[in-house]
């Protein structure tokens, strides 16, 4: 067994016992909740007369339903307002800290956790949201869970889980100019498939991840779930330690020194073994764009949409379904595809470095006529930092709308939605049918820089040729 990899070390440390089913009862060090998947969980606790025994290990924020224009309460959407009232009441009643709209720490749950120093290496983390895998960027083991498991964690600080296998994904070499973390993870998913990671935790290792900033690592780990892996992580190193230092919830002074030593000791050693290993050369990764209805259906921006018969027979029906929905033809170049909407934001790419990259592209240009372009910071902290740097002025001058923090058009549970058959160049994580709020709306996933370029040209553009 692969006893020396980080995943197994952290798993063993948090194992409470083996359940009658044979699954592990796993202690959860950090539980993050939001307004969408928690109300029913609190009700389950009420129905059974249960309390939250470790309320200081759960943090709540609001993100999915938050309007990014007017945030005056009550919200215009009665249902959204009810959800707000529910999380406020539940957090009050069960003693959970809520980073609400009037708290400048509010934002998308997977932006807030790392930003506040809540997320640290060696933790087990759970949240009723599939993009919880984001926190693996720190060398924590982070799982997306459903509402029943949210109730489990609230009431016991543990959950029942079978131990996954661990696959190491090595990307060695150097990324070419214009290739971002988003392209790396889209490329990995394209190679391994949307269900390639089922049953696995992914360890991302090699030159490319070592050279990445924490925000880039978060982008990669965030989309692990899009490749079927419930959990993906990167070993902690000095970059990790430096990022955490000084954050509000991070350990201080001597405790920080002890913490850093422990964090670094968790990394998979040179003798670590894995259940599987895949190697991808950095040089083959291009700026990547999706053309279909799942995140594996992507191509390099200079490539054409592949021919149906280039796919294995079992995949061809899905490819035809995607082409029909997108109204694309096989062998059609993706570059030049006209867009109607550009969305920069989300837990994948709504951090300050993402906005900086997009602003660099937008500076001195104008959004193409007829294109609606939105920039939605991932948190109030990101928003404040961007405004301090004047990024909002660059965006506004270029014709982008500058919005308040939230999930916005990534999943469109709020007023930000596509209309009809619109095509959206999006820095988010899912191009599923109907994902962005119009049942027939279409999504092209790409890096924030590529979204900004597409907004300006009015069409999918190769960032390497953008001027």
């Amino acid at each position: 067994m692969s006893s020396q990899n980080l995943f197994n070390r952290v798993w063993d440390l948090h194992t409470v016992r083996t359940l009658p089913s044979g699954q592990t009862q796993l202690f959860i060090g950090l539980h993050l909740i939001h307004e969408v998947t928690s109300p029913q969980a609190f009700q389950m606790l009420r129905d059974r007369g249960l309390k939250v025994p470790y309320p200081q290990r759960t943090f709540a924020t609001v993100d999915h339903i938050i309007p990014t224009l007017s945030q005056a309460r009550p919200f215009q959407d009665d249902l959204a307002e009810q959800m707000m009232s529910a999380i406020e009441k539940n957090c009050r009643e069960f003693g959970v800290t809520l980073l609400n709209l009037d708290d400048n720490r509010q934002g998308i749950v997977h932006v807030v956790g790392p930003e506040q120093g809540l997320t640290v290496p060696g933790m087990t983390i759970a949240c009723g949201d599939s993009h919880t895998s984001t926190h693996g960027a720190f060398g924590s083991i982070a799982f997306g869970i459903g509402t029943s498991q949210v109730a489990d964690v609230l009431a016991s600080q543990t959950m029942a889980l079978g131990r996954p296998k661990v696959r190491r994904i090595l990307v060695n070499g150097k990324l070419a100019k214009g290739v971002y973390a988003k392209d790396v993870v889209l490329h990995i998913i394209r190679k391994l498939g949307v269900n390639g990671g089922v049953g696995y935790a992914y360890e991302y290792a090699g030159d490319v991840f070592s050279a990445m900033t924490m925000e880039e690592r978060m982008t990669v780990c965030n989309m692990s779930i899009e490749g079927g892996a419930r959990c993906g992580y990167i070993n902690p190193d000095q970059t990790t330690v430096d990022y955490i230092k000084g954050r509000p919830f991070a350990p201080k002074s001597e405790e920080f020194e002890r913490a850093a030593k422990w964090w670094l000791s968790l990394a998979s050693g040179p003798d670590a073994t894995f259940d599987d290993e895949v190697s991808i050369p950095a040089e083959e990764i291009q700026p990547t764009v999706t053309w279909g209805i799942n995140p594996a259906q992507s191509v390099g921006v200079s490539e054409a949409i592949p021919a149906v018969d280039s796919f294995p027979a079992a995949d061809q029906a899905g490819v035809r379904e995607a082409l029909a929905f997108m109204e694309f033809q096989e062998n059609q170049p993706i570059q030049g595809t006209k867009i109607n909407v550009a969305f920069i934001g989300s837990c994948t790419n709504g951090r300050i470095s993402d906005l900086r990259e997009a602003a660099k592209v937008a500076q001195g240009h104008k959004v193409a006529s007829g294109v609606r372009a939105l920039v939605v910071p991932g948190s109030q902290q990101v928003l404040a930092q961007a405004e301090k740097e004047g990024l909002h002025e660059i965006f506004k001058a270029a014709g982008f709308e500058w919005r308040a923090a939230g999930c916005s058009m990534c999943l469109a549970m709020n007023p930000d939605k596509l209309q009809g058959r619109e095509i959206c160049a999006s820095s988010s994580n899912r191009n599923f049918k109907g994902r962005q709020g119009s049942p027939t709306g279409r999504t092209l996933l790409m890096s924030p820089a590529m979204v900004a370029a597409a907004a300006i040209k009015g069409a999918v553009t190769d960032i390497r040729e953008f001027a």
Partner: protein, 198 residues
């Protein structure tokens, strides 16, 4: 203790598409709720509007409780609203080529067995259901078989989840809460909960 679930029997409904994500099962606009009530009628709502021949609208499959699905069913969002919508529509078991893990866990927590079968066997099951939608389909966890009429195919289920369902231990909440003392003991050994004094 909840019911022991060793088998599920009911009529079937085939939906042999791959990579059906939870946004398609229940569009996000229906997640604006504080209970799971009423989700059943919205299951696959957008797919149904765009495909008049969608099985969930086909009169011959109404009342079905065994869904025959494709590969990677339930991928994407962790929303438990997806299995809740299917359950409230009437689904009690799903046979598929493979399932996304969070969806799988959500179904297990709600006493819905998800078993896997080969693509060829799934086609055979779907054909048998199409030919005779009134026929009883049995998902038998102990025999590891799915049976409809004269068709019997082998199926598999992840050992832990199967054991939990068959033994009536799929309500994890009670079991997890019962171990409070052991939980406390484990937390005492976790560095970040103890000032990093390793």
């Amino acid at each position: 203790m909840p019911a022991q679930i060793a088998s599920v029997t009911g009529t079937g409904i085939p939906l042999l598409l791959d990579d059906i994500d939870t946004d398609r099962i229940i569009p996000a606009r229906y997640l604006r709720c504080v209970t799971f009530e009423g989700l059943g009628e919205h299951a696959f709502e957008d797919d149904r509007k765009q495909d008049p021949s969608h099985p969930f609208d086909n009169p011959k499959f109404q009342g079905a409780s065994v869904l025959v699905a494709g590969r990677n069913f339930g991928c994407g969002s962790s929303r438990e609203h997806a299995p809740q919508a299917l359950i409230r529509w009437g689904i009690k078991a799903i046979v598929g080529e493979s399932f996304a893990e969070i969806f799988f866990g959500n179904c297990t927590s709600n006493g819905v067995p998800l078993v896997t079968a080969s693509a060829a066997d799934l086609k055979q099951l779907a054909a048998a259901i199409e030919a005779n939608p009134k026929a009883a389909v049995t998902v038998d966890l102990l025999q590891q078989q799915v049976r409809v009429g004269t068709v019997t195919v082998p199926c598999q289920m992840q050992a832990g989840a199967k054991q939990a369902l068959v033994s009536g231990n799929w309500d994890f909440l009670g079991q997890l809460v019962d171990a409070a003392a052991e939980v406390k003991q484990t937390s005492g050994n976790i560095p970040y909960l103890n000032g990093y004094k390793v």
